[in-house]
């Protein structure tokens, strides 16, 4: 083969042309998920954006354990397993960095950021007006909700938490803390007000939209925000009553007849429901399994992290059916994986387990029935976890009335009546505190936060916590002695009034400062 030089050059010239420089060659289009260039066009875009606001409601660090560790700091439960981090949170020697609770901060600001994105972009979209209102209403509600999730835990009269307004320029987006937490509550209420105007009542939602924000949820949360703010500003109590009444007079809600039924999967959407973490066994809350006996007597991966105290057990009035609905003690019968079992535990620190959320485990094969997840590392269940129930709205109102020197008997007795207890007359704050404790034990209403805002925490926590130590842990009928299971704790009301902001967040920001004393 004899190639002439010019023949070769003829071959080469196209080869060079092939790689010739051009800017097009260096600009590649991104495929896959959309970008700001092509988003916010269709109804589907707006729906996807609003769906993203709820996504952390299936994230363990928010709805599974997360702040339940801070609820556990109260006097109703103790940490059931040796685990230094968890123990330290309960003992107020936490620095906020631990993976269990720290993500709440970041994830809530992500909800806030996404809600702001919707609030900025959706109004100018050319989509159906009703859909637009529904979407914006959800965005306002969830923005307010996310602030309220963080504000009482991290903010007080010394400093609030950062408020990120919609449309904030990138250069201003590292926002410093608000002057005080009342600013946050104000922001929350304003969001709930806007949302309430835009959203329908729960019973107006199609079944597919159950779990999305609705009108009375906005009012209930506005009541809660005011109640928390009342710690600093007593004028807020009147607002609590006003918003609670909006919920009550809407006629959309009521108490179920039987307290036990409230925590059944079938009643996820009952008239008592106002707002819950929506949970399915595929994606959702693992909390019921975290309360369950460690290793679930070999049948399921219960995590056994929180055990009920004898103090809680004894707080119930004699004959209050809520006690046995809430707590399982040695010898109590219960349905578990299709069998009638009598409770015992070789590892429960107090000899008592929370029973409230055990409905998903009752059938013969809950995995097959779809009420619990097959993966023991993610043991989500089909039970929605209540955040605000109608009963709590009644108690909001009762508390606000009592604190204003008025009678809170009406709403308080409504709650007692359902429990089959005698009505009270001239109920005091002590009665109210008792009622909140027993009605809402182990729920996200957060007993610890109540003790803090009532300024009862220091006194309460200076007493040790007790359990029932049975002589034979494998025998449901064995006798027990009441013994101290958790020593008295040191709670400094100045420092521990709030929790430490995750230090990793302080490192990421140039303006965020830690709560004093941490």
């Amino acid at each position: 083969m004899k190639l002439k030089l010019y023949q070769l050059l003829l071959i080469l010239i196209p080869a060079l042309g092939f790689v010739a420089c051009s800017d097009d060659f260096l600009e590649n289009e991104k495929f896959g998920a959309p970008s700001t260039e092509n988003f916010w066009q269709t109804e589907g875009d707006a729906m996807a954006a609003v769906n993203a606001l709820y996504t952390y409601f299936s994230e363990d660090d928010i709805v599974g354990r997360g702040f339940m560790w801070y609820v556990c700091a109260g006097d109703d439960m103790v940490v059931g397993r040796d685990k230094a981090q968890s123990v330290n949170m309960k003992n107020f020697i936490d620095d906020g960095s631990n993976g269990y609770t720290a993500k709440n901060w970041r994830y809530m600001y992500r909800i806030i950021g996404r809600a702001n994105d919707i609030i900025v972009n959706v109004p100018s979209m050319s989509i159906d007006k009703d859909l637009k209102d529904f979407i914006l209403g959800q965005a306002y509600f969830l923005r307010g909700w996310a602030y309220l999730w963080l504000a009482p835990r991290y903010g007080d009269d010394r400093a609030g938490i950062p408020i990120v307004k919609e449309g904030t320029a990138l250069s201003e987006l590292d926002v410093p803390r608000a002057k005080n937490v009342s600013e946050n509550y104000k922001q929350c209420v304003s969001d709930f007000d806007k949302a309430a105007k835009l959203l329908p009542y729960f019973d107006e939602l199609p079944a597919d939209d159950y779990g999305r924000a609705h009108k009375t949820a906005c009012w209930a949360y506005a009541a809660k925000a005011h109640l928390y703010n009342a710690e600093y500003d007593a004028t807020s109590y009147a607002k609590v009553v006003e918003y609670a009444d909006k919920v009550i007079t809407s006629g959309k809600h009521g108490l179920l007849d039987n307290y036990t039924d409230v925590f059944k999967v079938e009643n996820n959407w009952s008239k008592e429901y106002i707002w819950s973490f929506v949970s399915s066994s595929d994606k959702g809350c693992i909390t019921p399994s975290v309360f369950l006996e460690n290793k679930g007597w070999g049948k399921y991966n219960g995590w056994g992290y929180w055990h009920a105290t004898n103090e809680l057990y004894e707080a119930y009035e004699e004959g209050d059916p809520r006690r046995e609905a809430t707590i399982l003690k040695f010898g109590d019968e219960f349905q578990y994986f299709g069998e009638t079992m009598r409770y015992y535990s070789s590892n429960n620190r107090t000899g008592m387990q929370f029973r409230k959320f055990m409905d998903p485990f009752t059938s013969k094969d809950p995995v097959a029935d779809g009420t619990i997840n097959a993966n023991g590392d993610y043991p989500a269940t089909d039970l929605n976890m209540p955040l605000i129930r109608y009963a709590e709205v009644l108690l909001f109102k009762a508390e606000a009335l009592i604190m204003q020197g008025k009678s809170g008997d009406g709403p308080l007795n409504e709650v007692r009546h359902r429990a089959g207890l005698d009505p009270l007359t001239g109920a005091t704050m002590d009665d109210l505190k008792h009622e909140r404790r027993v009605e809402l034990a182990a729920e996200w209403s957060d007993r610890h936060q109540d003790l803090v805002r009532w300024h009862d925490a220091q006194a309460t926590y200076s007493k040790p916590l007790h359990g029932r130590i049975h002589s034979n842990l494998l025998e449901p009928d064995s006798p027990y002695e009441i013994k101290e299971v958790w020593p008295a704790r040191k709670f400094d009301p100045v420092v521990n009034h709030v929790w430490p902001i995750p230090p990793q967040e302080i490192e990421q920001s140039e303006v965020l400062v830690q709560n004093k004393g941490y």
Binding site: L3, L5, N51, N98, N116, N347, N373, L474, S509, G517
Partner: protein
């Protein structure tokens, strides 16, 4: 290498022909009188030269009637002979102790090693090293100063990291250039030589694909004309782990758990009471013993080459098979290649190289603080059994003892973790490189190279149910994913060489473009009725909706323009300058390119007429400065504000999982090239007939505008931090390599020592003084930060001051107001130093305490040969660096659920054992002994390792002649790897990777192999 010198000299030889003397002759090996094929012959001071043919003969038309002829051949000593008029020579060449006359590939060209003006390290004695049971990367450890190879533990699927002259960017990586093709794979058996381009001026010509890491240039064996040769190597052997930690036995475990409960003031658990739970008091399993095994390793490699003047070909194949020391872990590969070179015309050459291969393997993530096999082997109760009475994998308790299951932690039987693994993950690649060399006219050559490559990966895993008590999984699943990656690279260069009297010029200019595309998808299906191997197919899965299938699509394109000018005067002065422009699609189009330049010079004093020191064969001073751009750490589409699919939202009465989209990042349109800028001064000296060689370098390297994550405050609301040009990192150090070798009769020896220092420091972090590096242990410990004036990725920790010996001492530790600094501390707890004196121990008290990057690395090698015997030894070490032994935080504490512990906890502090440095045993940890980022975890990780010893024997020629195998060279050898490690580090092995965080990392293993080399 021989082939390369041939190539270059052929080119040179084609230049100008104004001959006067006609010279010819024969070149032979001095000791054997065998002809030397491919030896170079050139007229001194000119580029006029040729090479010897298959009979060792050469013909050369000299430019003048009298002058000096230089004869050179790789690993032989140069010879210079004077000629006057036509002459016929017989030249006997002697092997040199060091390979001095190597041509070094410098990127789009090559240069005589003696003439280099930049810092290039060449791996010598590669033949002996290659028989080692090590990866190509592993071969470099301890052999070149400034080339720091750090094993990432001993997992067969995880190769070592190479850091050249210090870290300066999160994307410091090394570019491998194999026979001129960046990023091509290489078989260790095929390697002829390795050069490491350490300074920026040397590496600059490879440009943006280098990053700030440096370039490793590999030249593989090339076919030789006229002679058919076969090279084969086979070895087989075993590997074992040593220095493994030991867990408590059942009796000790119960004792420690009870003591821990007592010390914490909590009630004892019945589970740890032998009278109540007798089952738990029996030691049944040594879990560490169960998960480790003796692994087999083997390699077979063969290459065949030969051809004629016009066509030469080489084919090689290598098969590796390695069983890891942990059960079921392995890595195996088969890789082959074919090179064919055509000489179409005197001035036209074409070569085609095709490479193909496949690898697969299974690695265990021992790093996971939760389910890593090694840490699980510590956690697992000693009373548990590997298999239960029915032959199924056992859990933390036996099926009849479930009532006590809750007392033990959520642990997975580590044997089950390893054995259950059902992974199929083959990766295939095919690459083709075509290269055309064209001499357009005298001195001007055009080279065009085009590479196209494809790589396909399948990743299949079946996850069986995990029913046993511990951390059960009642669901099985199968996931499959496939990734298809293809890319092309086109490089075109024009080179012009001109010699005018004593002036030598080389001008080179070129253009390259590359494009990469990755496509892939993945899916997971759940709910298989049967777990029979034959039933583990997607068709049998019942739940297809739980996980959404995913798709990947990525494109990357880049272009470069580059040029280089080299000038040499009279073999005395050398000057090279280069410039390039790189552009990448990773950056926003308005600022996607950068300009980078380099310049270097050398003065070969030994060639000066005034220099006349007989003992000094070479003395050369070098200086260089250069820049390299880098965007490796930038993701594609960094300038796009994307929306990410969220994890799925559950809403509605039927609990539908809905898709959501949320803003992923805030893009940085201003992102521009990171630039590494390096200055190097060095000198090379050869003494005593080149027996002693000495290379010394000093470098200073700045990584400017290094690219890393910008701070991403929570209030941004975006999950992904943007990349930004953050700051600057400085590296400086000295390097020294000395080798001495000689042959006396039948005895040949060579010894080499090398050492390098590295001083690394972050000099600028933009707006902040400190930057957290996203590495954590169980989300509790976060020890690594970048800080201004501190080494890259330093440990940032609270200082400890021993252990409080009494409650009184703990109580007496007060601040200036008399308040206790550690209010929860009692006797046996760590004492933390309140550095800022504010009376509280918190993050504000941290100090920078060094990093995992050694301040000094060194190596020592020796080679001895006597008659048929040969012996090689390599020692290698590193000093002045730290490891954060996080393993202590999970295995030396009794405050982590029902986990078993390391035996060393028995030596923990107690009132009767006050000398201990392990804090007291307790079920709680109010003092946060094990949860504080403190220097209690930090250990000196300096080590010295006997990396390799090899002993070989080559059968004598006389014996082989008797069996009519006179051309065969047969060598048997035995080799031991990692035989001895001297270190104070208390973990399994100091080479832990992962920026120096050790949570029971898969340890580096010892290997013993036996092998045979055959050549004919």
């Amino acid at each position: 290498m021989k082939k390369l010198s041939l190539l270059l000299l052929t080119l040179i030889g084609l230049t100008e022909v104004y001959s006067q003397a006609v010279l010819k002759g024969k070149i032979v090996e001095k000791s054997t009188n065998e002809p030397l094929v491919g030896a170079a012959v050139y007229e001194k001071g000119t580029t006029n030269g040729t090479i010897s043919d298959s009979e060792g003969r050469f013909n050369l038309n000299a430019k003048s009637n009298n002058g000096v002829l230089v004869f050179s051949f790789v690993s032989y000593q140069n010879q210079e002979l004077v000629f006057t008029g036509n002459q016929d020579f017989t030249v006997q060449m002697e092997t040199s102790s060091v390979g001095l006359d190597e041509m070094v590939v410098i990127g789009y060209g090559s240069v005589h090693k003696d003439d280099l003006s930049t810092s290039v390290g060449s791996l010598e004695g590669i033949k002996e090293l290659k028989s080692r049971p090590a990866s190509t990367t592993g071969l470099l450890q301890g052999t070149l100063p400034g080339v720091n190879v750090m094993n990432q533990g001993g997992d067969p699927g995880q190769d070592a990291n190479i850091v050249i002259r210090g870290l300066g960017s999160p994307s410091d990586r090394v570019l491998w250039v194999v026979d001129g093709v960046p990023g091509a794979p290489v078989n260790s058996e095929d390697i002829e030589s390795i050069s490491v381009l350490k300074d920026a001026a040397a590496a600059a010509i490879y440009g943006s694909s280098v990053g700030s890491g440096g370039v490793i240039v590999v030249t593989t064996k090339q076919a030789k004309a006229g002679k058919l040769s076969v090279d084969a190597n086979y070895f087989t052997g075993i590997q074992t782990a040593n220095n493994l930690p030991e867990a408590l036995n059942a009796e000790e475990f119960n004792r420690v758990k009870n003591l821990a409960a007592d010390n914490a003031g909590l009630g004892r658990s019945d589970a740890f009471d032998a009278s109540k739970n007798p089952d738990g008091a029996v030691t049944r399993t040594d879990w560490m013993d169960e998960i480790f095994r003796t692994g087999k390793v083997s390699r077979f490699g063969v290459s065949l080459s030969g051809g004629s003047e016009k066509i030469k070909a080489l084919a090689s194949v290598q098969a590796d098979n390695e069983e890891g020391v942990l059960l079921n872990t392995y890595n195996k590969s088969v890789k082959g290649r074919v090179n064919v070179d055509f000489k179409l015309h005197d001035k036209i050459k074409f070569s085609e190289s095709v490479q193909a291969g496949t690898t697969e393997g299974y690695s265990n993530d021992t790093y996971s603080g939760y389910t890593g096999a090694i840490i699980s082997a510590i956690y697992m109760p000693p009373s548990a059994s590997v298999y239960d009475s029915k032959g199924n994998f056992g859990g933390v308790v036996s099926p009849d003892n479930l009532k006590y299951a809750g007392a033990y932690g959520d642990i997975v039987n580590p044997v089950a973790t390893l054995e259950r693994k059902d992974v199929y993950n083959p990766e295939y690649y095919v690459r083709s490189t075509s290269s055309l060399d064209l001499e357009l006219f005298s001195g001007l050559t055009f080279n065009s190279m085009f590479t196209v490559a494809g790589n396909q990966q399948l990743e299949e895993e079946f996850m069986p149910k995990r029913p046993e008590p511990g951390k059960p999984l009642n669901e099985n699943s199968k996931s499959m994913s496939t990734t298809f990656h293809n890319n092309w690279l086109s490089e075109n260069t024009l080179t012009y060489k001109k010699t005018l009297n004593k002036h030598q010029f080389t001008l080179m200019g070129g253009y390259s473009a590359s494009y990469e595309k990755t496509k892939g998808f993945d899916l997971t299906v759940y709910g298989f009725d049967s777990e029979l191997e034959s039933a583990r197919h997607l068709v049998n899965g019942s739940n297809w909706s739980k996980t959404k299938p995913g798709e990947e699509m990525d494109e990357l394109s880049s272009t470069s323009l580059f040029s280089r000018v080299s000038y040499a005067y009279d073999n005395r002065y050398f000057l090279t300058g280069s410039m390039r422009n790189d552009a990448s699609s990773k950056l926003y189009v308005d600022n996607n390119d950068g300009n980078f330049s380099a310049v270097s010079g050398a003065w070969k004093i030994s060639s000066e007429p005034f220099f006349n020191v007989g003992a000094v064969n070479l003395l050369k001073l070098r200086a260089s400065w250069g820049q390299i751009g880098n965007v490796n750490s930038v993701d594609n589409y960094s300038y796009v504000a994307g929306y990410e699919a969220t994890r799925g939202t559950v809403l509605g009465q039927n609990k539908e999982v809905l898709s959501g989209l949320g803003l992923e990042n805030v893009p940085n349109l201003g992102l521009s090239w990171e630039t590494s800028e390096q200055t190097d001064f060095g000198f090379d000296m050869n003494l005593f007939n080149n027996k002693l060689s000495l290379v010394a370098d000093y470098y200073i390297k700045y990584t400017k505008q290094f690219i890393d994550d910008l701070p991403n405050p929570a209030t941004y609301g975006t999950p992904v931090a943007s990349k930004g040009n953050i700051g600057e990192v400085k590296n400086e150090g000295f390097e020294l390599a000395v080798s001495y070798g000689d042959t006396k009769g039948d005895f040949t020896y060579r010894v080499g020592v090398n050492m390098a220092t590295n001083k690394n420091k972050v000099t600028d972090l933009g707006n902040s003084d400190i930057q957290w590096v996203d590495e954590s242990v169980r989300q509790v410990l976060r020890p690594i930060y970048n800080g201004v004036d501190e080494p890259w990725h330093s440990f940032y920790l609270i200082e400890t001051d021993g252990i409080f010996q009494s409650d009184k001492e703990a109580a007496a530790y007060v601040d200036k107001d008399g308040n206790r600094i550690q209010p929860n501390a009692v006797a046996g707890d760590l004492k933390f130093i309140d550095k800022n004196g504010d009376g509280v121990i918190n993050d504000e008290d941290r100090l920078f305490m060094g990093s995992a990057t050694p301040e000094m690395t060194y190596g020592f090698n020796a080679y001895l040969a006597y008659k048929g015997f040969d012996f090689a030894m390599l020692w290698q070490g590193a000093a002045g660096h730290k490891v954060f032994n996080a393993y202590k935080g999970v295995a030396y504490t009794a405050s982590e659920q029902g986990y078993n512990m390391d035996k060393r906890i028995l030596d923990a502090w107690s009132s009767s054992n006050t000398g201990s440095d392990i804090p007291r045993i307790s079920a709680t940890d109010p003092n946060k002994n094990f949860q504080t980022n403190s220097d209690w975890f930090l250990e000196d990780a300096s080590y010295l390792r006997l990396k390799n010893i090899t002993i070989g024997y080559t059968l004598p020629q006389s014996l082989l002649t008797r069996v009519k195998a006179q051309n065969v060279k047969l060598r048997f050898y035995a080799s031991a790897e990692n035989l001895l490690t001297i270190t104070n580090y208390s973990g399994m092995d100091p080479e832990v990777g992962n920026y120096g965080i050790d949570v029971a990392k898969y340890p580096v293993a010892r290997k013993f192999t036996f092998g045979v080399n055959v050549n004919f």
